[in-house]
Symmetry: C2
Subunit: 113 residues, 2 copies
DNA sequence: TTGAGGTATTCCGATATGGGCATATGATGG
DNA sequence: CCATCATATGCCCATATCGGAATACCTCAA
């Protein structure tokens, strides 16, 4: 089996940096494909492909506007990610502490050599 | 070019559901590989591989304990993800609104057919 | 030392990726 | 209808993936 499809969920979709960039740009408002491509330094087909992925996981919506197609952010798709992360927030500081004791253990072990 | 390596960053590491499950389990405390494998219904080599990835992006720490190796959570690695997401929280409700108007546009367009 | 439990690594196959390029499809204005 | 701009798709490549199976590795105990 290969890796899960990028189109499977938001977690996979935002694993790709360029797609994160696209989403970030779209916070400023709707944009046509070519705009995004130019602004992010990618090819037009490249942008279209990434947008397709984002569309398929529901992070982005399209709207025809004359010849153009305006892509807009639909941030609700990020909620599952945020919720999953929420389960870990309380461990951030704790992890710091644990690491401290861990590092001290290492030092001690080194002295015992 | 293929997809970015899973070991490249936390975003890629948590794109895999089983790895998310491992991290979630580790919130309850350190565990040896076999434990995780059994509890999550995966093979021992499978668990080891996922743990390697998590180790390489710094989401997990190991500690030898006799024959066993205890894996523990290091949730700090999730911070970048959380921070990136933070930039979108304020768009969640707004997106709702936008979607409403979008749906209404669709309805209207359909009536005009 | 040898054996045994616990874990990591290697090799394999099937599959999905992202990028470049060419080209198909769409919509608009003459 | 045609030419044109805007976008989407298809195809190909090199590469990375995850999973399974076999096996190498490590640590302890006898």
């Amino acid at each position: 089996m290969a890796r899960a499809a990028t189109t499977s969920d938001a977690f996979n979709a935002i694993a790709e940096p360029q797609r994160r960039d696209i989403l970030a740009l779209l916070r400023a408002g709707e944009r046509p494909v070519t705009d995004l491509a130019r602004e992010l330094g990618m090819s037009q087909p490249g942008a279209s492909k990434h947008l397709r992925v984002l569309r398929e996981v529901g992070l982005v919506r399209v709207r025809g506007a004359g010849k153009q197609r305006l892509y807009g952010l639909d941030a609700r798709g990020l909620r599952p990610v945020h919720e999953w992360l929420g389960g870990f927030e309380r461990f951030w500081n704790e992890s710091f502490d644990r690491l401290d004791t861990y590092v001290q253990d290492l030092k001690q072990a080194r002295q015992e050599d």
